[in-house]
């Protein structure tokens, strides 16, 4: 029976190795588990941009699409509410990247209109299939399209995670939108303090 014990110990060590940062997030600490912030996408003005647009800021990134009936507006509202509890200086240290995985319908103009509604810290991005494949693979998330109905509407499946990056672009945090506003605010503040 020594071997199973040993295996369990090994797994425990491996699992423990995943979280090494001193901060206690309410969400899941994923320091070192995923890649640092990096992307090449199209912004709300139709320009090609990279992660340098958020240089020196903490970042919350998540994937969605503007025709999303529930999750995306809920999450953006949650983030906006949490940001509202922060001070102006703290908010200035923070950017929200909303990456649309539905470039067919989400034009830069539409994205701009959509994200403006949730606050100036929210930046809408999208890209070609290759660009989106790159960035979704980096953050271990998938997206896919349902069949079109008669009016040409279709469902888009996408990840529900919000990924937090510290000011140097290192991945730190994975949040879900079932966290209460106060906890999200705590985690955002912790991100900007890192």
């Amino acid at each position: 029976m020594r071997i199973p014990g040993l295996l369990i110990a090994l797994f425990a060590v491996l699992l423990a190795g995943c979280g090494e940062s001193p901060v206690a997030f309410h969400g899941k600490d994923i320091t070192g588990v995923m890649n640092d912030l990096s992307f090449t996408l199209t912004d709300e003005n139709g320009d090609t941009v990279t992660e340098t647009i958020v240089d020196g800021k903490a970042v919350v990134l998540f994937f969605g699409y503007t025709h999303c009936p529930d999750y995306c507006p809920m999450t953006l509202t949650l983030l906006a509410q949490a940001m509202n509890t922060l001070s102006e200086q703290e908010r200035e240290q923070l950017r929200v990247l909303f990456i649309s995985v539905d470039p067919e319908r989400d034009t830069p103009a539409l994205l701009k209109e959509y994200t403006e509604y949730f606050g100036p810290e929210v930046i809408g991005l999208t890209g070609s299939k290759d660009q989106l494949d790159d960035v979704t693979k980096r953050y271990r998330t998938a997206y896919g399209y349902g069949d079109k109905d008669e009016e040409g509407n279709y469902e888009v499946s996408h990840g529900l995670a919000m990924y937090g990056f510290d000011k140097s672009g290192r991945v730190r945090l994975l949040m879900r939108n079932d966290q209460p506003v106060e906890q999200v605010a705590d985690d955002l503040k912790a991100l900007t303090d890192l």
């Binding site: 071997i3 994923i30 529900l160």
Partner: protein, 270 residues
């Protein structure tokens, strides 16, 4: 057409370790089989076919576009593990690969290496340990919090898949060892039946538990996004059924092979 095939065969995430291990296994078989053939003891076509089918199946589920679906759909992940832990591992073990792979060394002997590995082999091939590990690993990687971490971290994901494959091969090697247990001093056929039964029921229970649980048991697929819009409830039910029924069928298949060996040796008489 060609492009579709190329896309399908391109690994979702390139893993040099996987390529290396699969090449080593395939090369080992080819080399060992040639050495044995020179002594007039070449493995049969069926054994070769079984080995390479098993190996190819395992490669296909972890290092092609299939892997993408296995990462982003729970039920596809269950198919992946079904191949790694049951079907592929079963076919590899059914080919009785150890004598062929050992023949790679030719006449050379490595007494130190053999002595170092002997205790490990004794423990891992012990019927109780092999069964506990076989069932234990299924439960371990399907433990919701462990499953979540394994799906998130590339390192753990690879560890999960390789541990499933290696453990599956060991378990089925114990079950499907074609030698006469009385002479080779391996586990008796009765013991092997008991191993199969002991492994069967926990898998049925786990499969049924997943099938009938409230949806959302494995929320990592919701959080990381599914490959296409499939309802979480359907995904979980499919995954549960795949954990439940095909492994049970593989157990029966294993029992049939053991029964055949048993009858063979019985007929030859004592």
């Amino acid at each position: 057409m060609w492009q579709t095939l190329q896309t399908a065969l391109t690994p979702y995430i390139l893993s040099p370790l996987t390529v290396l291990l699969c090449l080593l296994a395939a090369g080992g078989w080819v080399l060992g089989a040639r050495r044995l053939a020179r002594q007039g003891r070449a493995p049969s076509v069926w054994r070769t076919l079984s080995f390479f089918t098993g190996l190819l199946l395992c490669y296909a589920v972890i290092h092609t576009q299939f892997d993408y679906y296995a990462r982003y759909m729970f039920f596809m992940h269950r198919i992946q593990h079904l191949v790694l832990h049951h079907l592929g591992a079963f076919l590899i073990a059914l080919a009785n690969p150890l004598p062929v792979l050992a023949a790679v060394a030719g006449g050379r002997r490595f007494p130190l290496l053999a002595r170092a590995f002997a205790p490990l082999r004794r423990v891992l091939f012990d019927p109780v340990v092999a069964t506990l590990l076989f069932v234990g690993l299924i439960f371990f990687w399907l433990w919701p919090s462990v499953h979540f971490d394994a799906m998130l971290s590339l390192r753990l994901y690879e560890l999960m898949n390789w541990s499933m494959l290696i453990d599956g091969v060991i378990f089925w090697l114990v079950i499907l060892d074609p030698r006469d247990p009385r002479q080779a001093r391996t586990s008796g056929f009765g013991v092997r039946f008991l191993m199969l039964v002991a492994a069967l029921f926990p898998q049925i229970l786990l499969g049924a538990y997943i099938t009938f649980s409230e949806p959302g048991l494995y929320d990592v697929y919701a959080i990381c996004g599914r490959a296409w819009p499939l309802s979480p409830a359907t995904d979980q039910v499919l995954g549960g059924v795949l954990t439940w029924i095909p492994p049970a069928m593989m157990t029966i298949l294993g029992a049939l092979v053991v029964l055949r060996y048993y009858l063979n040796y019985e007929q030859r008489g004592d």
